[in-house]
Symmetry: C3
Subunit: 348 residues, 3 copies
Amino acid sequence: MVIKLRDLADRLGVELRGDGGQCVHQVETLDRADDVSLCFFGDHKYRAKLSATRAAAVILAEPDVPLCPVAVLVSTNPYLTYARAARLLHPEPAVTGGIHPSAVVAREAQVDPSAWIDAMVVVEAGARIGPRVFVGPGSLVGAGCRIDADSRLVARVTLCEGTRVGKRALIHPGAVIGREGFGFAKDGERWVRIPQLGGVQLGDDVEIGANTTVDRGALEDTLIADGVKLDNLIQVGHSCRIDENTAMAACTGISGSTRIGRSCTIAGAVGIAGHLTIGDYVHLTGMTMVTRSVTEPGRYSSGIPAMPNARWRRNAVRFRYLDEIARRLEGLEAELDRINNEPQQEPE
Amino acid sequence: MVIKLRDLADRLGVELRGDGGQCVHQVETLDRADDVSLCFFGDHKYRAKLSATRAAAVILAEPDVPLCPVAVLVSTNPYLTYARAARLLHPEPAVTGGIHPSAVVAREAQVDPSAWIDAMVVVEAGARIGPRVFVGPGSLVGAGCRIDADSRLVARVTLCEGTRVGKRALIHPGAVIGREGFGFAKDGERWVRIPQLGGVQLGDDVEIGANTTVDRGALEDTLIADGVKLDNLIQVGHSCRIDENTAMAACTGISGSTRIGRSCTIAGAVGIAGHLTIGDYVHLTGMTMVTRSVTEPGRYSSGIPAMPNARWRRNAVRFRYLDEIARRLEGLEAELDRINNEPQQEPE
Amino acid sequence: MVIKLRDLADRLGVELRGDGGQCVHQVETLDRADDVSLCFFGDHKYRAKLSATRAAAVILAEPDVPLCPVAVLVSTNPYLTYARAARLLHPEPAVTGGIHPSAVVAREAQVDPSAWIDAMVVVEAGARIGPRVFVGPGSLVGAGCRIDADSRLVARVTLCEGTRVGKRALIHPGAVIGREGFGFAKDGERWVRIPQLGGVQLGDDVEIGANTTVDRGALEDTLIADGVKLDNLIQVGHSCRIDENTAMAACTGISGSTRIGRSCTIAGAVGIAGHLTIGDYVHLTGMTMVTRSVTEPGRYSSGIPAMPNARWRRNAVRFRYLDEIARRLEGLEAELDRINNEPQQEPE
């Protein structure tokens, strides 16, 4: 899409300083931008690139205006303004209603005429697919699933039986929502499966990454609240609940029946044990291992950062004896106390 | 399914105390149960819920009988009894034999007439699919695969060429069994693939989770023995062997040629290096890092649990110098020894 | 394929010692080999198996010749020679050009007549598929994708819009290349998606494992250079760049905008934070946590190896106080210094 800077500033609700008649039609990086490109500046690491840019305009914050050689769009939240500008210039393709001839749609399914069912899709009996929903190629919408308006299953998504998806969801390829979770009773040495009878409910504006798996509830539904964003290759166990606007990066695993509060950020490859409660506004850094509930908001971490292998080997061996080290330290402290408190040696 | 409590007790082989004529038709949680619901009680954390339940009956252990206000099914293994009761009340749908018209089944494949081949399935030449097998939508059964009776490929499962699946397997969406594993020789800086010529054999009653990957053997088959249960997003490298009834939670990775014994439990996000042997009855807690063989049964762990970020930073920095800390401690001990053993200063 | 040892030695460019007229037609392990099998010996752990082998011939290094009871192929790089011999004896099946009748190929796509488009494949508009490319069952080749000669999408691969794949790529089932990465701006508590406008470029001879995900770039393409090998269940974030011949084992995650040099080896379940630079010839052992750039070649590690749970619990608790332990140690050292430097107690 092509738009004049003055119209763009109007639609974004930000102030333009520069030639409002100049057109832009794409977003670009500062160094690759040309005179129809719009850029974003937010990190002073890229200051040299800003001063050399040939962009039509740059979105930035007031204090950075003097650094910029071209037109500016001044925003109190430049990154958000950039997100909106980028979507405006590069809109999602509109969904054209219809069903690809190769798709298999059960007669008992309800598909809104404005929804698109792509090639090789299977929609099973009782599924309800709302207005302007896009069901990408190779996806499976299981029996009794419901997908609300404007949601987008990119491709090869699996929604198991009875899964409910809210409005404006974005579900990436390979995601598996609603499979029967990992529940077993022991019969001697053998495992006997416990039927998983709950479902999965995704709220509005939820995003589920590629090859991410969200298991159905054991009895109560697994709940992913409005605005939750899950990255790729994440595991969410049965009967978990994740509250509004929590975001979770790739490769993280959440064991069953754990509840995570709202507006948390959980970085990549975090592991959270089952049956825990993580409160609101908790932030976990990458690879953190959570074995207990976390009730206070704040930033939590664990793990050992990388170091040269030889050094690591020496330290890792010592860790095996850390408790002993601490005890020996206590012993020394006691010993020294004793020495210090000894009566002064009196000459006879 | 609807069943009288007395008939249920008979079929489960447990004792009923209460009105045998009462019917149940579902399992439920203690707090959501109504008078046709059956519940399970096993954790005293939920004692208040038990005493307030309106369930028809509760499965529990003898000592907990006095706590329950409604009819009880008394079991020596209440969780197992619950698993069986739940399956009885909520049976798997029966498989109706047939091939969906959209499926592509090679003429040289053998499909038992009682098996169901669902929409968009591909069955390649030489595959043999046994009685009452369910091959869910979008699955691929590669050339020469064999699937034994009563196994269930839920949906979008990939069985690569020659994979063998035993009886009553349950394979979840997105699982990939039998891809060529990660084997390369170096040619200067370049990697040259080593053909992976082994296969994969899954025993009876095996379960493979969603988006889990099990690589085919390099020369000898990768073996997953009877009763093994793998959760989602697990990686099993080429030529591994996992023995009977071992269960493995999500996000765990096992490198190639490692052998894991029987009745082990391996929690989530564990990593096990290649060419190791893990004995029988080994239990690994979540995120454990296994770099050496484990021969003794027992419970093993590693990793650092989460703590507030500021505290973690201070500690993680110190870990870099843990070996030095230990050496300095040894130095102090020697020093103190010296002081203590110094001849007493004698007055002249 | 069946070949005489003398012809095999010729084609591999290695020296044969033994009966050149003997035929081999498969590779095998030392203990399972029969008189038409070729083996590899490289690890002295298997010396007993070598001396008992009934193979037709064994590939090994000069110093090991005396250990071998049968014919030998003497190589300066036996494992590489083995890789080549195995491929020779077990060649990839040749690709026969054509399009399976169940495939859906957009009229605007270009498919080379020598390429094979398998059952249930979807090829979208503008895609270009080169000579002898194999697109396995259930794969999706998105709009505008390009796949160069001799590449192989094994099955159920997803190439999102605009992805470019070089020559001789091998992409395993369930891989998702080019989904929109995890980029959001905050609007109060809500996340607003940042359109991901870059693509993904895979070089020549790249391998992507099963259920691995490679996100498209935010603005600049995600780049996977020639000869890079990625194992299963790996996440590569948006705008990453991985240089030539780097190999990465399963379950590893790389956050966005990180650059990894050439000929690195990255073991399983490693985590690398975003916006970092890992230099050339860096080797990371399994489960390493990388939070800073690594500029020097070499081997790096982190993490705590497994130990019995009771011991681990004691040590892990102490880790919470490691900084305090170090400070107390410093206190003791100071104290002891003071004692040692005290003026000798003089008798009065």
